[in-house]
Structures are given as C-alpha cells and as structure tokens.
Amino acid sequence: MGLRDDVARVLISEKALQARVAELGQAINATYSDEDRPLLVCVLKGAFVFLADLARHLKMRHEMDFMEISSYGATTVSSGVVRILLDLEQNVEGRHVLIVEDIVDSGCTLDYITRNLRTRRPASLRVCTLLSKPSRREIDVPLDFVGFEVPDEFVVGYGLDFAEEYRNLPFIGILKERVYQGSE
C-alpha cells in the first residue's frame, strides 16, 4: 500500500503548487531589497518543503534561520503557548523578519510566535504561509503572503503530515477519513 492510496483526492496538484510558490517568490522579491537582507524564519517541521522551493525563487540577499516548536499539550491550544525546542541562531533585533509557515489553522501558534519575535524588536515582521484555513481561525493574525485558502479538510503532503506520514507527497491531498478516524 502506497501513501497515495490513503489520499481521497488531490486538492492542489504539484504543478499548481509550483506555479503558486513561484508567484509568492515574485511577491516577496517585490517587497524586499538587497539592503533589507530579510531573515526567513522557517517553523519546523512542516514548512521545510515549502521553504526549500520558495527560497530558490528569491533574488534579493537574504538569510535563513529555523525554529522548532512543540506544544505543551491540550491545555495550551487556545493560548498558543508552545515550547521552543530550537530557537533562532540569529539575533533578529533590527532585522526584517519573514516567518514561513506551511499552514495557518486556528492562528494560535502563529500568534504566539509573532508575539514572541516582536519582543525582540525586529525592524519588520511579516508572515508567508502556503495554506490558510480561514474557517478554523480563532485569533486573527495578519498574513502578508498566502498561497492558498483551503476548506476545513484534513490536508497532507508538501510538508504537512498526519502522524509524521505523507510529508513527502509532492502535492496537497485530502486524507481519507478512515485513515485519521482509524487511529483514534
């Protein structure tokens, strides 16, 4: 059984993803200059595939850094408070920071990350997300670059996982209900 058999349907094809990622790259190119030297902050693990493709379209001088976070458990969901497992290598004070996310769902985690980074006084702070699920939003977080708005479905692929599987599918698919129901 391949991973693809667990996918009910393809929501965003590889071709559509690649075209949109190139467009996002152009939009980011138009926003920053070499002098801005933006710092792209990748939130692991989910965003690494998106970032790998997006960053290859960027023309201006830029740098990258990584954050890995983990939740403290169910009680912190609405506050968005997370444990930072890997903090940024770079000091972002006075820097132009662009957070790169795979998906914005409730917005709670992203809100927490932006509040955390803002305390470090960056020159600017923007957010680029591949996917957004507006119907799930609990906290309104401003998004500067959005790849696709998607319905409230269980999406996997292109970095997005279910129980650590499916991240490497080159497209975004909707997981069959039996797959995620079966594990509960």
Partner: protein, 192 residues
C-alpha cells in the same frame, strides 16, 4: 543566466542535481524495500533543500527529523569538536536511520553524528551525502549514498552557504577565490 558577483562559475546546474537526487532516491527505495521504521535525519541548516527534494522522490515510507549542530571553530579552521544544538525529536533506538547531509568535508561532523547515533543502538545506520570533498578529509567516514565528488573549492547554493549567503541558489556554484580568502583573513584577524 546572470551569476552573483561573488560566484565564479556554476559547478552543478539544476538539472544535473535533480537527476542525481532522483537517482539517489531510486537507490534508497531499492535498498530499503518496505520499512516501517525508517527515519531520515536532516542536518540543519544546509541539508534542508536536499532533504526536501530527496524525500519527494522517495516511495519508501519514512519519517523526517532534524538535528542541528555547530562546530567550535578557530577562524574557519574546524577544531573537530561539535556541539549539539537540537537533538532529533524521535528516539532512534531500534529504528533504521538515514543521515542526510549536504556536504562532507573534513568528516568531523558526520563522524560525530555516526558515533552519536550508533550509541543509541538503531536497527541500521546509513549516510546520504550530496557533495563530498575527498581532498579535505581528516577522518574517514562511511558514505552509503553519494551525490557528487568535487575538488577542494568553496561551493555555495542548494543549501550550502558562505557566511549565510547564497544558500538558496538553485544550483551549486564555485565562490570566487578572492572572496573566500578575504573571509579567512578576516576571521584570523590578519585582514588589513
């Protein structure tokens, strides 16, 4: 294609890299069969582009994890000591581990990783490296899957950086010698 001023020439273009990454993925697929416990460990920051492309070509089921290291440098000269910044999330004991690295230079980092993981008793332990510079080797390390052997030139792009620059060029280019030499002089405190 216009190259950045600091880049002398393209060593490996996008098509060449993509073809070799596909080839490596096919080998890994063939060797692992149908594992239920394979974890690819990408070494940050450099390996993330290679890992993102490699994983998308794999059909074998696998999980992805990351590890972050830094070396204790004296100027640009590695002392061979490695500091673990972030460990893997998953416990690799009893699992099949494939370490994914962008570049193998002195071998100190990969040697450290191999010894670290071996102590955790994985079911198997293999290494996949995109670029190797055999002339630079200080310590011998086993490489199971190798993309390219290259001469001792400073390369950037496809995850590889020079002072955090040029990491996301879609190709691998050779840095102009005067650029890397100037940097070494600055770090040694001998620059004018």
């Amino acid at each position: 294609m216009r190259l950045p001023d600091a880049i002398e020439r393209v060593l490996l273009d996008e098509e060449t890299i993509a073809a070799q990454v596909r080839q490596l993925a096919a080998q890994i697929d063939a060797d692992y069969g149908d594992p239920d416990d394979l974890v690819l460990v990408g070494v940050l920051k450099g390996a993330f582009i290679f890992l993102a492309d490699l994983a998308r070509h794999l059909t074998v089921p696998h999980h992805v994890d990351f590890i972050a290291l830094s070396s204790y440098n004296r100027g640009t000269v590695s002392t061979g000591s490695v500091r673990l910044i972030m460990d893997t999330r998953v416990n690799v004991t009893g699992r099949q581990v494939l370490v994914v690295e962008d570049i193998l230079d002195t071998g100190y980092t990969l040697d450290y990783l191999i010894r670290t993981f071996r102590a955790r008793k994985p079911a198997s332990l293999h290494t996949c490296v995109l670029i190797s510079k055999p002339e630079r080797r200080q310590v011998e390390v086993p490489v199971d899957y190798l993309g390219f052997e290259i001469p001792d030139v400073w390369v950037v792009g496809y995850g590889l950086d020079y002072a955090d620059r040029f990491r996301t060029l879609p190709y691998i280019g050779v840095l102009k010698r005067e650029v890397s030499v100037r940097r070494v002089a600055e770090e040694d405190g001998t620059a004018g």
